[in-house]
């Protein structure tokens, strides 16, 4: 990579502040009405226009990979669920998937379908929280309330399947927990709820896109063109709203038998990011229906005959609601985890937004940051413990340089 490719000096902030035309700096702190999770933003504004921005993401760092080093693998899987409360199923599934790929464990078909169902339900509820939060940051409380009202049935379904509304612990090594099998009556209830969600969501999207005031706030603001999105490694719906047509579900074997569409839009502004996620909810409802049909009534959901042993480093990528999630670890000969690495999508999505929000007004910049759906609890820097046992932290600067 040549020096011209990596010319990041425009945001490294060289020089004195007085030499650039900044009127003032406004820090928006990590306890704030616009943030659901703690991150600190410093906006450098001039007459309401944001000229520069710096995001600091590490208040929520808890050192999960450090906790997991040397733990038995099945115990570690459950702990990864607590990395994030919204995408908890994604972390657990990816963690279990890594070990299963390395140890060559067979998963029954019904269990695969239930795992896909859980992930799609999670995608729906996560996107509905995002829409409610974006409306809240816009200032439109009524849409936020409507969005939460649509989300409640999804939470009730997850409660019915798994026993908990959040942190549902559906996948285990070898399949899913036997309690989470889909009986006939549960399957019918889920199908009805999906139909209702479809109808309500379609009405809501029409109403949302027809609202003049909301669209005037969202259209043309925070434009992220395809080149910027590629340069700063945006992933997930944030990238698909800018014209990048990639979704990890194309490559995952679990989704091979499902009929679904990828939602890609071209405008790359805030409205496109919100619209992508709303349309993805409809696609997820479709996949969820197919998953229920595959898994309904089948009680063979757990494969118990497999052996725990050592495993070389295995990588696993899945598509969580915010983009691409990467887990990797290896097992030593006692089946204990070594060198766990978790890399979540918000790191690069938020970095993209840091560049994209420049040039808009301050209130719009706050909305732009919210539209990349940041989930800071996953995010933070991760610790690389190399083979010589030395710890090395990678900061945002390293990741921007494409570090490894």
């Amino acid at each position: 990579m040549s020096a011209e490719d990596n010319d990041y000096s425009e945001f490294m902030g060289k020089g004195k502040a007085r030499e650039r035309t900044f009127e003032t700096e406004i820090p928006i702190g990590f306890v704030h009405s616009a943030l659901l999770e703690p991150y600190r933003t410093r906006y450098f504004v001039e007459d309401e226009i944001v000229k520069d921005c710096e995001i600091e993401m590490d208040p929520a760092y808890r050192g999960i990979e450090r906790i997991l080093e040397g733990m038995p693998v099945d115990r570690a899987n459950i702990i990864t669920e607590r990395i994030c409360g919204i995408c908890s199923n994604g972390h657990l599934w990816n963690s279990v998937r890594t070990a299963e790929a390395g140890l060559n464990i067979e998963i029954p078909k019904a269990a695969q379908a239930i795992r896909v169902l859980a992930e799609e339900l999670e995608r729906i509820h996560s996107h509905l929280i995002f829409i409610a939060h974006a409306c809240e940051v816009l200032g439109h409380e009524t849409f936020a309330y409507r969005s939460f009202l649509m989300r409640e049935p999804v939470m009730q379904i997850l409660y019915m399947i798994s026993g908990n509304r959040v942190n549902y612990a559906i996948p285990v090594l070898g399949g899913v927990r036997p309690r989470t099998q889909i009986a006939q009556w549960k399957g019918k209830a889920i199908l009805e709820a999906m139909d209702k969600l479809d109808a309500n969501l379609k009405k809501f999207i029409e109403r949302f896109l027809a609202d003049i005031m909301v669209m005037s706030r969202l259209k043309g603001v925070g434009v992220c063109d395809k080149r910027t999105a590629i340069k700063y490694h945006a992933v997930g719906p944030t990238a698909r709203a800018s014209g990048i047509d990639f979704d990890w579900r194309i490559k995952m074997p679990e989704y091979k038998d499902f009929d679904w569409d990828m939602v890609v839009l071209d405008e790359g502004d805030n409205a496109a990011r919100v619209k992508t996620r709303a349309l993805e909810c409809l696609v997820s409802a479709r996949i969820a229906r197919q998953a229920v049909e595959k898994a309904m009534g089948d009680s063979d959901v757990l494969n118990r005959d497999w052996q725990l042993g050592s495993m070389a480093i295995q990588h696993s990528y899945i598509e969580v609601p915010r983009g691409e999630l990467y887990h990797s670890y290896r097992l030593d000969d006692q089946g204990r985890i070594r060198h766990y690495i978790v890399r979540t999508p918000t790191v690069t999505n938020l970095a993209t937004m840091e560049v994209v929000c420049v040039g808009d007004q301050l209130t719009d910049a706050v909305v732009t940051l919210a539209t990349c759906d940041p989930c800071l609890t996953c995010c933070n820097r991760f610790v690389v413990i190399d083979e010589r046992g030395r710890e090395r932290s990678m900061t945002l600067q390293d990741l921007r340089r494409g570090g490894s």
């Binding site: 208040p59 808890r62 999960i64 919204i86 939460f148 989930c375």
Partner: protein, 148 residues
Amino acid sequence: MKALARKRAIHVMLVYTGGCNGCDIEVVAAVYSPIHDLEQYNVMLTWNPREADILLVTGPVTKKIAPALKAIYDAIPEPKVVAAVGACAINGNVYKNLGGDLGPSTEIAGPVENIIPVDARVPGCPPRPEDIIAAAAAAIKILSGRSD
């Protein structure tokens, strides 16, 4: 009269201290979901410590957030009640108590009671919105019983 006013108008502030955010989502669902609707019990959500009576704290307190939590607690005028929501706020949950070869996390400044005094505790990982409403009711009782 004091007790009546304190019972009929309550402001709640939410502070997230670096947890997994599950409890925050359930608190927000308790407030913003028309099905649960905390406002019908005359409890209003605010983001300003000067306006708050009840402080809801979620998450195990990371070392970076601990001074800010103390400063926000000090900014709330008396009489005030602190409710620790979720297992992380009560005892640190998986971050402080579990660990493999390298031990548990070194970034946690401890459960909330290490930093500020706690009056109510809501267990759960995460607690359901109904539990959070019950916690708000218990905190209101403590608040209206205070005679200062």
